[in-house]
């Protein structure tokens, strides 16, 4: 995103809308810091500029800067997945896809969330360690397309420095590997330059209980009660 210097009247209306704090006043006009801008498009969409001075410049859609938009603008569709947003269908359709089966745990580490942002190279703090442990990253997740080779967890050279609102490291592990993998994630938390929101997907048992919660609490995690629950309305229903 950019702001036409000759149009801006310096009203500052756009400044508070930027999640990355990338807009500031310079010599009486608003300027967007191109390093910090993640191309989310909020400043343009909220239409608070009284003179339409904000615009999407050509570079926003050119590689490698274009990855900023696909990982930050919720309305942008990923070419590789055809799905809008940064992630996958995950728990949303698990009753039909059975992507996360009993005995397995889905893990999502959303780097940059909430509202801090991340350079794509920052995910390597965990992806390289996970790859060494043989973890296979979710093939439908847009981030997986940006590894030089998913078996190394290394991000492509041309996009490493690109900043995005968030990028999700997503994978499935068997329950017996939970202690080992979670310990790697906790180690990564001490080394990262940003924040990450840590999410899991697990199955209910036939009695409507979530056995994983007890296990996590025994491991020392405080498990918030706010959860995203697939209520089993999808058809055809897959139970395995």
């Amino acid at each position: 995103m950019k702001i036409y210097e000759d149009k801006c009247i310096g009203c500052e209306n756009c400044i508070p809308y930027c999640a990355m704090n990338a807009i500031s006043m310079v010599d009486g006009i608003a300027v967007i810091d191109q390093e910090e801008c993640v191309e989310c498009g909020v400043c343009l969409r909220v239409e608070r500029c009284p003179v339409d001075a904000i615009y999407e410049n050509e570079e926003s859609n050119q590689w490698p800067r274009s990855v900023r938009k696909v990982f930050s603008d919720a309305t942008a569709k990923h070419e590789n997945t055809g799905v809008r947003g940064r992630g996958t269908e995950e728990v949303k359709t698990n009753d039909v896809t059975a992507r996360f089966k009993r005995g397995f745990i889905g893990v999502a580490l959303e780097f940059g969330r909430p509202g801090v942002g991340t350079k794509l190279k920052d995910v390597e703090v965990i992806t390289e360690a996970l790859a060494k442990e043989g973890v296979e990253f979710e093939p439908k997740n847009p981030l997986t397309f940006l590894f030089t080779d998913a078996s190394t967890g290394k991000i492509r050279e041309d996009v490493r420095e690109e900043k995005v609102l968030s990028a999700i490291v997503e994978f499935v592990i068997p329950e017996e590997k939970i202690e080992k993998i979670f310990s790697l994630i906790q180690e990564a938390a001490d080394k990262t330059e940003t924040v990450f929101s840590w999410g899991l997907v697990a199955r209910f048992d036939d009695e409507g209980n979530l056995p994983i919660v007890d296990k996590l609490e025994k491991m020392g995690f405080r498990v918030p009660r706010n959860m995203k629950i697939n209520v089993g309305l999808g058809r055809p229903l897959r139970e395995e």
Binding site: N21, A74, T93, L200
Partner: protein, 209 residues
């Protein structure tokens, strides 16, 4: 993977906050399902969501979304995203969707015990759960929790800390009502899962402090 999952706040202020997301599974049951998406939306609008949005049409209720127009533009892969502050309303939606057996997957985000009880009342069997383990790393980069309670209602981080702080200030100074401020805050969240009624309640509570 975590669109509505990591909502920050005490259990108290999460009451009256239910996020509803429904979609087909791409490549499995999405082909030709636009009529079922439209029917689900008709049911939701008849019941009355707190907020609802669409990334397909890039609008939400705060931006003046027209339900009929929006419904007509739904495609086979369009997700349905909305929120409710009234438990009875989301219960009615789930009940009617179960009766019509439209076959789209549905997730409800809320307090686990409450959502499981909702499922029991409606006759549904909860299948899987997305669980948040919280925020890790350089948490000193985050704004205060009383700001995160607002910003995290948009899972895509379209609602900035800056506009939350400005709206709080405006309501405190009497420049605008909490309802107006909540609507301004909900506008950037095109998915429509920003619960403006909850936001209004939190703004009012701050003014009373």
């Amino acid at each position: 993977m975590t669109h509505s999952l990591h909502r920050i706040g005490s259990s108290d202020n999460k009451q009256g906050d239910y996020v509803f997301i429904s979609r087909p599974a791409m490549g499995i049951n999405h082909e030709g399902c636009a009529p079922r998406i439209r029917r689900s939306l008709q049911i939701i609008f008849e019941v009355g969501p707190t907020n609802l949005g669409s990334l397909t049409t890039k609008e939400n209720m705060a931006l003046g979304l027209n339900p009929e127009e929006m419904i007509s533009k739904m495609e086979d892969n369009s997700p349905i995203m909305c929120c409710f502050h009234d438990r009875e309303k989301i219960k009615e939606v789930l009940t009617r969707l179960k009766e019509e057996d439209l076959g789209l997957s549905v997730v409800v985000t809320g307090e686990m015990e409450d959502v499981v009880e909702l499922c029991r009342e409606v006759g549904l069997k909860p299948h899987s759960a997305g669980i948040s383990l919280g925020i890790y790393g350089k948490t000193e980069l985050l704004p205060e929790e009383d700001v995160l309670c607002f910003t995290t209602m948009c899972g895509h981080a379209m609602v900035s800390a800056g506009i939350v702080k400005q709206m709080k200030e405006s309501v405190k100074k009497g420049i605008m009502s909490s309802e107006e401020a909540a609507n301004i805050l909900s506008a950037p969240c095109l998915c429509g899962i920003f619960n403006n009624v909850k936001a209004q309640k939190m703004l009012d509570e701050e003014c009373e402090k």
